[in-house]
């Protein structure tokens, strides 16, 4: 390492630690960052005073200050430590910035959703439908009921199919069929959601011979097409984690294979499977496009999955925004309140899923 062979300074200094000579002290990059922010902040302040901007641009100041820091940090390190450590510092700062940049949209999105959604996030939003509502007021109860029914139905279809497929792949499947299913399940995760909606529409329009069909069950089928591969993948991973010793011990006691799976393998992996299913639900509950196509939209309550159009929460958000009436704010506020409800549901599902995975997973380690 070049750092170790750096010749000692000409003046007689006390013996330095050879491992740290030639390396910038730890706080230096942070001090540089502060200095860069101050400089750029001052420049923006001067611009403000000169009247170039009409308000202080704090986001711009931080952004350009950070860019300046990346460059200054590289130059300082290069002149003191050499080219290779300087490159290392440069890449480290870029990589850390990439992570921070990715956090910005998440924070901004959550902040806007909460601050815009709160005004209409009230009791009437959860207690009424949009029937005969023009302008202000109204609620999304019909959409919430629709979302719960359609997603629940999709879960009822996907979980048995997905779980049995995962069991087949892990416990029974050998040869071409198993390999083909694994591969196609992977490919199926990539089906665009709108294509799933078109499929459900094409299927039911042909089978039931109604060219303009719209009903909730079709939405459930479309969501199942999206959900099954996710359930299969996650359950498969979980079933694979069950130690073979458990199965062999069960066989040795004379338990048939299917009872081994039902009584030993599934209970061991049930926490992981539950987590996977909840994450799959949280993925499909926010799908808009397929439901827009096959479930349609309506202003009134509809409890029947098999008849008539059915509103869902994502479609509610979309239609409130897309077809604004007068006053427009009422519609936009409702859209944001719907978005907030959706985000809360999805985040809760995610959180509960993680907790279930943490608390109920079997302790395999000794």
């Amino acid at each position: 390492m070049s750092t170790i062979t750096t010749p000692p300074p000409a003046t007689k200094a006390p013996i330095a630690n050879t491992l740290t000579t030639g390396i910038l002290p730890k706080p230096v990059p942070w001090i540089l960052l502060g200095v860069c922010w101050l400089i750029v902040g001052a420049v923006f302040g001067i611009l403000l005073a000169a009247g170039a901007n009409d308000s202080y641009n704090i986001i711009g100041a931080i952004f350009f200050g950070t860019v300046l820091w990346v460059i200054v940090n590289y130059i300082v390190s290069r002149s003191y430590e050499g080219a290779r450590p300087a490159m290392n510092r440069f890449v480290t700062s870029l990589v850390s910035l990439a992570f921070l940049v990715a956090l910005l949209p998440l924070i901004s999105l959550l902040y806007t959703t909460i601050s815009n959604g709160i005004p209409r996030f009230d009791l009437s939003f959860f207690s009424g439908s949009m029937r005969n509502v023009v302008g202000e007021g109204g609620g999304a109860l019909h959409a919430i009921v629709g979302t719960l029914e359609i997603t629940g139905m999709a879960t009822l279809i996907s979980v048995p199919v997905g779980l049995l497929t995962a069991i087949y792949l892990v416990e029974y499947g050998r040869g071409h069929l198993a390999r083909g299913i694994t591969f196609l399940v992977d490919v199926m995760t990539g089906i665009p959601s709108i294509v799933a909606g078109l499929f459900a529409f094409a299927f039911f329009a042909l089978i039931l011979n109604q060219p303009g069909i719209r009903f909730g069950f079709g939405g459930a089928v479309a969501l199942s097409v999206l959900m099954i591969p996710v359930v299969v993948r996650s359950s498969e991973e979980m079933l694979k984690l069950v130690p073979n010793e458990l199965r062999e011990a069960s066989y040795a006691l004379g338990v048939p294979k299917w009872l081994t799976i039902v009584k030993v393998v599934l209970p061991t992996s049930i926490a992981g499977i539950t987590t996977g299913v909840m994450l799959a639900i949280s993925r499909v509950i926010g799908e808009t496009a397929p439901l827009l196509i096959i479930a349609g939209f309506t202003q009134s309550m509809n409890y029947n999955l098999f008849n008539e159009r059915m509103m869902t929460l994502p479609v509610f958000v979309y239609t409130q925004y897309a077809n604004q009436g007068i006053p427009a704010e009422a519609y936009i506020d409702r859209a944001w309140a719907g978005a907030l409800t959706l985000v809360v549901i999805v985040m809760l599902l995610n959180l509960i899923a993680r907790i279930v995975a943490k608390v109920f997973s079997p302790k395999l380690g000794r």
Binding site: R84, P85, M87, N88, T92, V95, S96, A98, F99, V101, A102, P105, L106, S108, L109, T112, T113, N116, V161, G162, L164, T165, Y168, L177, I181, L184, V187, M188, T189, G190, I191, P192, S193, I194, V195, L198, F199, F201, A202, F203, L206, P211, G212, V225, P256, K257, W258, V262, G286, E287, T288, A289, I293, P314, Y318, Y321, A335, V346, L349, N350
Partner: protein, 318 residues
């Protein structure tokens, strides 16, 4: 002579008892597995069946008066691929950076939590992304776009006049990039973590800095993984509907300009915007465009998965 008669038969080979429970259970798992193949085939079959009338549709049935179906779908395919490509251009470098940060830079204890944070982005519904893009992102980036047009307007991609609302295809590409970031990051992270520890330690022992270790050990090992992760991200971006439908004002044209107010739209957004009012052959035309989207994404995903699977076979890491 009253003992039981000696059995002349040879001892039979021991066979497990055939239980009906076993047969039923294993048969039902096979049925469930095959159902997936059936569904995938059904998606293709029903889309084809419903889109046959569209291929012979005339100008009367096609929106915008295109002479035939292929002239109608051409600009849409262009818009779809173009928007997805731009999104990929933004997302992949960022995703590699984040994946490296989580796998090799962040403190061990924090790493998993940071991974969850990025995964949260994947959980946000697309319609919320659309709302955010139109109300927050578009006004925020508009000044940057107009500066860009002022400074680099001579470059064809940034040709003016700039859109006054910020609702341009570049804004859409940013929203799409944010949406595909989690999946690309998650896959890259997994691949980077699979790098043989001995390779990394050997590089460090030879005096490499952390970046040199990553460049010489981690990135070469992960390259096929990065390629396939990008393609899976591309598949997602191709099929993304609501963000595009909400942020862009619908136009059907071919244009490379990034910052103007007329932008090419995508297949998925076009379907979502026109399907509720479509009737007659119009429905078939939209389903046929959906079929083309299905074929494109299927091909992209197929190639990506094939790369991943080939990689798994000889990576030695798992």
């Amino acid at each position: 002579m009253t003992t039981a008669p000696a059995k002349p038969e040879a001892p039979r080979p021991i066979k497990a008892k055939q239980r009906p429970g076993d047969a039923i259970f294993s048969a039902s798992t096979v049925v469930a597995g095959s159902l997936i193949l059936v569904v995938l085939a059904a998606v293709a079959i029903f889309l084809v069946a419903q889109s046959i009338p569209a291929f012979t549709a005339g100008p009367d049935d096609l929106k915008g008066g295109a002479p035939n179906f292929w002239a109608y779908v051409g600009p849409l395919v262009f818009g779809t691929v173009w928007a997805a490509f731009l999104a990929l251009l933004i997302a992949v470098p960022l995703a590699i950076g984040i994946a490296l940060f989580i796998s090799h830079y962040a403190p061990r204890k924090l790493a998993q939590g940071l991974g969850y944070v990025i995964d949260l982005l994947a959980a946000v519904p697309s319609v919320v992304f659309g709302l955010w893009g139109i109300t927050v992102l578009a006004p925020f980036v508009q000044p940057f776009w107009s500066t860009l047009v002022d400074l680099f307007g001579w470059f064809p991609l940034f040709a003016g006049p700039v859109s006054g609302t910020g609702r341009t295809i570049l804004t859409v590409a940013i929203v799409l990039a944010v949406m595909i970031l989690p999946i690309v990051t998650a896959l890259c992270r997994e691949i980077f973590l699979q790098t043989p520890k001995l390779h990394e330690e050997a590089a460090l022992a030879l005096g490499a800095t952390r970046w040199e270790m990553i460049r010489t050990a981690v990135l070469p090992f992960g390259r096929p993984g990065i390629v396939s992760a990008s393609m899976l991200g591309l598949g997602r971006a191709l099929g993304e509907t609501m963000a595009v439908a909400m942020v862009l004002s619908p136009q059907v044209l071919i244009s490379f300009a990034l910052l103007q107010s007329t932008n090419p739209t995508t297949i998925a957004a076009n379907i979502a915007l026109n399907f509720p009012e479509a009737h007659g052959v119009g429905v078939n035309v939209l389903i046929a465009t959906g079929l083309i989207l299905f074929v494109i994404t299927f091909a992209v995903n197929f190639i990506a998965r094939a790369i991943v699977n080939r990689r798994k076979a000889f990576s030695g890491a798992n």
